[in-house]
C-alpha cells in the first residue's frame, strides 16, 4: 500500500488522511512546493494570516474549541522564529498543534544559507517533540507520528522541519496504520490508588474538587463524568482559569474560579478543606500562593496524565497517574460499588461555611456615574450573549481576569485564553481560529487595547475570510495589569504603563473594511453590544472604561489563600518582603 509521490504532496496527503480541514499559514521560499500542492486540491482550506505568530495562535484557538489538533505552516528562518511564541504558549497550555516549517535544502544546512535557522534547535525547548526530516521516504511516517504525539498523553505542540529538497524529491508514502510508535502514555489509573481516593471521599467533612485544563484536554466524556461525580457527591467544585466550562457555571456545586484573581469562597475552600481532589490541574503558582501555607490541613489527591506534574511543587498523598476520563469512570464505579457514601452532616456544615464566604460578595463593584466600569461591561456582555452559541477568547491582563470572573461557561471548549505563558496578542488570532472551526457561532475576543494592538494586523485575515469575530476591547488606555502591580508594589510609580498614541479604533476598523463601534456611556452600552452581535462581519468594539479600576479579589504574590485582598481599601503595604521578587 505504499504509493510514490513528492514530499510536498505527502504533506498534503498526510494532512488529509489525518482529517485536517484547515491550515493556518504564511508562505515563503522554503515551503513553496507545499503551497503549490495546497493550490491544487480542495480538501484542505488554507487561511493566510498576516504574521506567523497569528497562524500558531489561530491554530491554538481552532484546537481548543474543537478538541482536534491545530495545524500551522510557515517558511524557514523568520517564519519559524515568528512561530516560537505560539509554540511556547501551546506547550504551557497543553494545546495539541502540528507546526510545519520549511527548511533550506539538506545540502545547504549548516552553511548559513539564506533564511536558514536551526529551527529544531530553537524549538526543542518549546515543543513537546520535533523532527528534522532529511529523507522523503520518512516524511509521511513522521507526519503521522507527529499527530499521534501531539494528541496522546498530555497534549502539546510538535514541529516538523522539512528541507526544500525533501519536498521536491519523490518517495514512498506510508499510511497512518503502518506507522509504529513506542509513545503510548498510560491512561488507566492504578485501582488501589483510586480506591484510596474513594475511601477518602466517604469520610471527608470538607472536600473540594479542584479541576483544571486536564479535564478539557481529556475530552467531552471527562466533563460529563465530572458532572456526574459532582452531582452524585454534592462536593463543591472550583476550577483553574484553564478548566472553566468543564463544570457548568450555573451548576449547583460551582463555587467559582480559584487562584490569584479567583473568588474568595473558592480560595477559602481550598485553604480550609480536609480533602482536595485535583483533577487535571497542575498546582500552578497562580493557584498555590505561598507554598508553605497552601491548604495546610488537607489530604491531597491528584489525577494527572503527566508524572512530572505530580509532586512537582505540592506533595500529594494520593497520586493517580492516568487520563481524567478513564480515572473518573473507575472512581465513580468504585465509589458507587462501595455504597455511594459521603459524610452528609459534615458536608452540610461545609456548605454553610462556603455560603458564608459567598455572602462576602467578593466580586461586588459599583457602577455609578457616567463612566463604564469594566466589570459592568462584561456583565452586560454576559447577559446579552449567554444564550448564543458563544465562544470566548481573551487577551492577557485585567480584562482577562474580569472575563473569567464575570462570564459564565456552561460547556468545555468554549473558553480560550493564554494561561501559562500569558501571551498578549493571543486572543485576536485565536478568535479567528475558533471562528474558522465554528462559522455560525458568536465568537468574541475580550481584549485590552494594549494586547489587541500586538496582533492587530490579523484584522486583514478576518476580513479576507469573512470571519465575523467580535473584538470587545475594554479600553482603559493603560497596560492595566502592569499599572495595578505598580500601584501595589512600586509606590505608584507608573513606569511606561500608559497606552500612548492609541489609534482611533473605529477608523482603524473602517480602514480594513470592518465595523467600528465606540461606546463610553453606560446607558448606551446594551444597544452598542446588540449592534456588535447583530452585525454580520468583524467588529472592533472600543469600549472606553474606567482607567484606574483594579482587579480584585487578589492574592498578592507570596501570600496565602486566606490573605486575599478584596478591594482597594485593603491594599496598603500589601506586597512586601520575599513576595516582591515573585511575578
Amino acid at each position: 500500500m505504499t504509493k510514490a509521490m513528492t514530499g510536498a504532496k505527502m504533506v498534503v496527503q498526510a494532512l488529509i488522511d489525518q482529517g485536517v480541514e484547515v491550515v493556518f499559514g504564511y508562505p515563503g521560499g522554503a515551503v513553496l512546493p507545499i503551497y503549490d500542492e495546497i493550490f491544487q486540491q480542495n480538501s484542505i482550506k488554507h487561511v493566510l494570516v498576516r504574521h506567523e505568530q497569528g497562524a500558531v495562535h489561530a491554530a491554538e484557538g481552532y484546537a481548543r474549541s474543537t478538541g482536534k489538533p491545530g495545524v500551522a505552516l510557515v517558511t524557514s528562518g523568520p517564519g519559524a522564529t515568528n512561530a516560537v511564541t505560539g509554540l511556547t504558549d501551546a506547550l504551557l497550555d497543553s494545546i495539541p498543534l502540528i507546526v510545519l516549517t520549511g527548511q533550506v535544502p539538506t545540502f545547504m544546512i549548516g552553511s548559513d544559507a539564506f533564511q536558514e535557522a536551526d529551527t529544531v534547535g530553537i524549538t526543542r525547548p518549546c515543543t513537546k517533540h520535533n523532527w528534522l526530516v532529511k529523507e522523503t521516504d520518512k516524511l509521511a511516517a513522521t507526519l503521522h507520528e507527529a499527530f499521534h504525539v501531539a494528541t496522546s498523553g498530555r497534549p502539546g505542540p510538535v514541529l516538523i522541519d522539512i528541507p526544500k529538497d525533501v519536498q521536491f524529491a519523490t518517495g514512498k508514502y506510508t499510511q497512518a496504520q503502518q506507522v509504529e510508535t513506542h509513545y503510548n502514555p498510560q491512561v488507566k489509573g492504578d485501582l488501589d490508588a483510586i480506591t484510596e481516593l474513594a475511601k477518602a471521599m466517604e469520610t471527608a467533612k470538607r472536600p473540594v474538587f479542584y479541576t483544571g485544563g486536564g479535564v478539557i484536554n481529556s475530552g467531552p466524556a471527562a466533563s460529563q463524568l465530572l458532572r456526574e461525580l459532582v452531582a452524585a457527591t454534592g462536593f463543591p467544585i472550583t476550577s483553574t482559569l484553564m478548566g472553566l466550562g468543564a463544570y457548568p457555571a450555573s451548576g449547583d456545586s460551582w463555587i467559582g474560579m480559584l487562584g490569584m484573581h479567583g473568588l474568595y469562597e473558592a480560595n477559602m475552600a481550598m485553604h480550609d478543606c480536609d480533602l482536595m481532589i485535583n483533577i487535571g490541574a497542575r498546582f500552578d503558582d497562580r493557584i498555590t500562593g505561598r507554598l508553605d501555607a497552601f491548604s495546610p490541613n488537607s489530604t491531597k489527591a491528584h489525577i494527572d496524565i503527566d508524572a512530572s506534574s505530580i509532586n512537582k511543587v505540592i506533595h500529594v498523598d494520593i497520586p493517580i497517574l492516568g487520563d481524567v476520563a478513564h480515572v473518573l469512570e473507575d472512581l465513580l464505579n468504585v465509589w458507587k460499588s462501595r455504597g455511594r457514601k459521603t459524610d452528609k452532616e459534615g458536608l452540610s456544615n461545609w456548605w454553610d461555611q462556603i455560603n458564608k464566604w459567598k455572602a462576602v460578595g467578593c466580586l461586588n463593584y459599583k457602577q455609578e456615574g457616567k463612566i463604564i466600569k469594566p466589570q459592568y461591561a462584561l456583565q452586560r456582555l454576559e447577559e446579552l450573549t449567554k444564550k448564543h452559541d458563544r465562544y470566548v477568547t481573551t487577551e492577557v491582563g485585567q480584562h482577562q481576569m474580569w472575563a473569567a470572573q464575570f462570564l459564565g461557561f456552561e460547556d468545555p471548549n468554549r473558553w480560550m485564553t493564554s494561561g501559562g505563558l500569558g501571551t498578549m496578542g493571543y486572543g485576536f488570532p485565536a478568535s479567528i481560529g475558533v471562528q474558522m472551526a465554528h462559522p455560525d457561532a458568536l465568537v468574541i475576543n475580550v481584549a485590552g487595547e494594549a494586547s489587541w494592538l500586538m496582533n492587530m494586523q490579523e484584522l486583514g485575515t478576518a476580513m479576507q475570510y469573512n470571519l465575523p469575530v467580535k473584538q470587545f476591547i475594554l479600553n482603559n488606555e493603560r497596560l492595566g495589569m502592569v499599572r495595578q502591580w505598580q500601584q501595589l508594589l512600586h509606590g505608584e510609580r507608573y513606569s511606561s504603563s500608559w497606552s500612548e498614541s492609541l489609534p482611533d479604533f473605529v477608523k482603524l476598523a473602517e480602514a480594513f473594511g470592518a465595523k467600528g463601534i465606540q461606546c463610553h456611556d453606560p446607558d448606551a452600552l446594551d444597544d452598542a453590544i446588540m449592534e456588535m452581535i447583530t452585525y454580520d462581519g468583524p467588529v472592533l468594539f472600543d469600549c472606553l472604561v474606567e482607567k484606574h479600576e483594579n482587579c480584585f479579589p487578589m492574592i498578592p504574590s507570596g501570600k496565602a489563600h486566606n490573605e486575599m485582598l478584596l478591594g482597594d481599601d485593603s491594599t496598603e503595604g500589601a506586597i512586601q518582603g520575599a513576595g516582591e521578587a515573585l511575578v
Binding site: 526543542r124 498523553g153 488501589d192 512530572s308 512537582k312 497520586p319 497517574l321
Partner: protein, 187 residues
C-alpha cells in the same frame, strides 16, 4: 562529590509509590536512560537539565543496541529526593526516551569509569607515581623518560582518590569517560 552520602531508599516506577516524605538532603543518583538513537536526543536531555536548572555531575552516552537503534545515557545527578523524582519524570516524558532507571535506589548496581592520567616528572616522584599506580591497578599505556600516561578504571571515587595522590607528583592532564553503570544480578 565523593563526600556525599548516598541514601538508598525504597521507591518504585509507579507514581503512586513516590516517596512519601520529602527531605532537604541532597542526594547523588545515577540514572540510566535508554533512548531512541535519534539526532537531537542528547540535546533534549542536556537541554532539560540546563533549562530546568538541574545538575549534571557526569554524563556518558553511546549506542548500545545497533539493530534496535538504542543508546544508553548514564547521568550522575544530584538534588533533593523531590528534585530527583522530578528529573526522572521529566526524562520519562521525552518522546525519545524508552526507559529511565534510577540505579541508586533500584537495588545494587555497579559503576565504573575509565580515566587517562598524564603525569610528568623525574626521579623520586616518578618512582612514587609508578608505585601508586600499581596499588590502584592503573596501567601504563604510554611512557617517555619524563612522563607516563596511566589508564585506570574504577568507581568515580577511586579515580578522584588517584587524582588527589597524583597531584603533587606531576599530574598534568586527566581525561575521564564519565560513569557507566549497570544493575547487579540477572535483571
Amino acid at each position: 562529590m565523593s563526600a556525599l552520602k548516598i541514601k538508598k531508599g525504597a521507591t518504585s516506577h509507579s507514581a503512586y509509590n513516590l516517596r512519601p516524605n520529602y527531605s532537604d538532603t541532597i542526594e547523588q543518583h545515577t540514572l540510566a536512560v535508554l533512548v531512541e538513537n535519534e539526532p537531537g536526543v542528547l540535546a533534549r536531555v542536556i537541554g532539560l537539565f540546563s533549562g530546568r536548572g538541574y545538575n549534571i555531575d557526569s554524563l556518558t552516552v553511546a549506542e548500545v543496541d545497533h539493530l534496535g537503534h538504542r543508546s544508553r545515557i548514564t547521568i550522575v545527578t544530584r538534588g533533593t529526593p523531590q528534585i530527583i523524582e522530578q528529573i526522572k519524570a521529566q526524562l520519562g516524558r521525552i518522546v525519545d526516551v524508552h526507559k529511565v532507571n534510577d540505579l541508586t535506589v533500584e537495588g545494587a548496581s555497579v559503576e565504573r569509569e575509565l580515566a587517562l592520567f598524564k603525569v610528568v616528572g623525574k626521579g623520586d616522584s616518578r618512582i612514587e607515581a609508578i608505585r601508586l599506580a600499581d596499588i590502584f591497578r592503573a596501567n601504563v599505556v604510554d611512557s617517555t623518560l619524563e612522563s607516563f600516561v596511566f589508564e585506570i578504571t574504577g568507581t568515580s571515587e577511586k579515580i578522584d582518590a588517584f587524582a588527589e595522590l597524583m597531584q603533587p607528583l606531576g599530574l598534568e592532564e586527566i581525561a575521564r569517560t564519565g560513569v557507566a553503570a549497570l544493575a547487579r544480578g540477572s535483571t
